[in-house]
């Protein structure tokens, strides 16, 4: 199968963030970047599908500045065959624009399957994958936690709130991958060496006009230090009140 996986380079999810001077972006000093978590699940799914189903090709695609090439190489060190770098500025928050750039590139590729992560850590919007599928006009299935492909058809389990939805569809299709489906493999040193020689193509990304832009960023109000609400069962009413009114989780 010819599978494309669209990946993203995002900061490590454990990082503490600071806002940069101009306040329209995060301060990147000292931050570690890597493949977005959900995107890495998608890469793993693609690799496993092609391993199981005989000869195929796994192509990884990323939109962004030159530094995304590092992430594309990482995907190739896991086993992807080649990479396409769609060059664009960093920090694009217009999901539809990114989807357009991807759809333009993918249309030409005659892919059986295009995979995305369910959402990316930085934008946290769940837009690009679904929008790309809609633009390509193919069956688009989101938040998939189980995926099987056979004879040009796919079955998947989608995670809803508290329930699962079993769906069926024909290929070609676009699928966004949820967690729990596969553990991304750790690249071996051999894989890392091989990745350096695999093909990586760069072209400009055709984003069109950007209509969603970042005006500013700020850090959420500091989490106040926790406190002991009380001792024993008598503290429960106070706790419930705090959960309802302060934390707003009840």
């Amino acid at each position: 199968m010819k599978i494309a996986v669209c990946i993203k380079r995002t900061p490590d999810s454990e990082s503490r963030f600071k806002i940069a001077g101009g306040s329209a972006a995060i301060d990147e000093t000292g931050l570690k970047f890597d493949m977005d978590d959900f995107a890495s699940y998608a890469v793993e799914v693609a690799l496993q599908l092609n391993e199981k189903q005989g000869p195929g090709e796994t192509v990884v695609v990323a939109v962004g500045p030159d530094n995304v090439q590092e992430t594309l190489r990482k995907a190739m060190s896991m086993g992807a065959d080649r990479a396409i770098h769609l060059k664009a500025d960093a920090g694009v928050f217009d999901g539809l624009a990114v989807a357009k750039a991807l759809a333009t590139e993918l249309k030409a590729g005659a892919f059986d399957l295009v995979l995305f992560g369910k959402y990316a850590f930085d934008t946290s919007a769940s837009v690009v994958g679904t929008a790309t599928g809609a633009l390509l006009g193919v069956p688009t299935i989101t938040a998939v936690s189980r995926l099987e492909i056979a004879n040009g058809r796919g079955t998947a389990r989608r995670e809803l709130e508290g329930a699962g939805e079993m769906v069926e569809f024909a290929l070609p299709a676009v699928v966004t991958i949820d967690e729990g489906i596969a553990r991304p493999r750790y690249p071996s040193l051999k894989g890392i060496m091989a990745a350096k020689k695999k093909p990586l193509e760069t072209k400009p990304a055709q984003l069109g006009s950007i209509r969603v832009a970042v005006k500013s960023m700020e850090l959420p109000a500091e989490r106040p230090p926790g406190r002991i609400v009380g001792q024993g069962a008598s503290a429960v009413p106070e706790l419930v009140k705090l959960l309802q009114n302060e934390a707003k989780v009840l």
Binding site: S15, G30, Y186, S188
Partner: protein
Amino acid sequence: MRLGKAERRTDQPFRRIWNVLRVGIAQTKILREPIAGVMHATIFWGFMVLTAGTIELLISGVFRTFSYQRFVPDAAYRAYELSQDTFAVLVLGAVAFAYYRRLVLHPRRLEGDNIEHLDAYIILGMIGSLMLTYLLAGGFLAVARPGAVDLPRFASLGVGRGLAVVDAHSAWIGYRVSWWTHAVLVLAFLNYLPYSKHLHVASSLFNVFFSNTSWKGERAAMRPMDLEADVEKFGASDVEDLTWKNLLDGYSCTECGRCTAACPANITGKPLSPRKIVVNARMRLMEKGPLLTGDRMEFLRPMFVHGEGGDAGARTPQQALEHRLLDQYISEDELWACTSCRACVQECPVSIDQLDVINEMRRFLVLSESRFPPEVQPAFESLERNGSPWAFAQADRAKWAEGMNIPTMLQLHERGERPEVLFWVGCMGSFDERAKKITVAFARILQACGIRFAILGQEEHCHGDPARRLGNEYLYQMLAKDTVETLNRYSVPTVVTACPHCFHQLGNELPQLGGNYEVIHHSTYIARLMEENRVPLQTEEGNRLTVAYHDSCYLGRYNDVYDAPRETIRRALPVVNLVEAPRSRDRGLCCGAGGGRMFMEERVGKRINVERVEELLATGADTIAVACPFCMTMIGDGARDKAEVLDIAEIVARNLD
């Protein structure tokens, strides 16, 4: 052995010779076990002494009248004769005891790993027969030619007394028969040697010479690895990936099992047996060697040693070539079960380095095949992203120091100052709630002593030791090189750390990557300060604690630091009752967290930390002292509610004035 990779092992020749004398000739490691040790030492020294006699005997077989008597003063010859008889009796006694031990006592370490007993019986039998035929020859001679056997040969004379019933002629025949039997046995034994584990008599002294295991510190460092090398594979999956020294180790192993008996994994039921690792390497070499070299090396194939767990039934040469040491002989589970405590290396009487093979095979698993327990992956990923094996942000590194007014290297650097010492905190000490208390305690001690120290703060990240222990040399070198860069940039003076793993890594292994620093463990540092009376202690009578100190493997066996922590405890608690667990100092039982096992699940057998805690508690201690944050976690977990577990820094800090 030519199949093995090249390696240079002729540096520091005097130290090496000293080791041969100490470990080999003086049998220091053999004697670690009192009874069996004396038994073997007797046989070995007897062998050396009696060889002189054997040579005399064999030469006299060709040149009838040959005797040392011609070349040495009389008194010396008499002493020589006495030595021969004395040792003949002693060795015979030792052999008898050896049989008794194997057949009746069945010591645990001589069981398992499917080792071959027949080989041992044959060897013992041959040795015993040699002694018997020697004494019989002497005895018969004494009867046949009275006066031919002098008084120093008391045992032969004694035997002769017993044979007095025989007439002179028959005695002469008896003598000739005994003599010839003895000579033939010697030559037969020599021929049997390569087929049995008795080959160790030829290889072991060389093995001790070429071994690096008796060095502490830098020699206990893991083998360096060149990742830039244009090689097919990284690490070892089969015998040709091992070095000639590893292969020599295989030939020197006598399957005594002292290593396995000391292995914390094996003791608690894991599949790992260090002996099996070595024996399997040899077996595999025997199997593959001839196929690769095309030599008729059959003569080295041990007839009687087959062993189990290996040799996945390769029936044809093709199969044998398809198989490999990894998987078909040694399983992944065995390799990952190792805590790298070095007890096996410590115990081996012929200085075999079992840990080297385990490490090289781990490197292969990780670097070439990306095979490792799944729970290790988050640790690798976190190390790569966060510079710590746990998912904590580097920005939080110095949070423990809040309010303590401790400068960072960067701050001092900007002021153009340098501290006396850099306190390397480590990941446990920075992030683990329990270990942070140790960090704070030690910092307080330093402050109380007026030491000008600094920390790296947010510039500190893991040096990669856990990755290295787990076989991920690539990740390790990335982190370690960066650490060296940081430390070199600050021209770090002296480094002190409360974690033995950091201590070992920074002091003993970073030199491989160009980082040479004076690194001191906090136990040594505090002991030094106490020696100089710089630590303000209030040593009131107070409660008399019964403290059992648990030796950290990376402090003890790796670096020979046993006394400093004990000294520290004694000085901090003058009325302490310091008790020792049965397995302590260089026999100390590991807590179970080393070798990257801190990051793995323990799924088989008894928990190592529980085994250790039981032993510590059986001493009657109400307090257990440790000098390592990993030990703190493991021992603390096992001793929960049963004893208080404290780091030595905490013991001292509690008693600060």
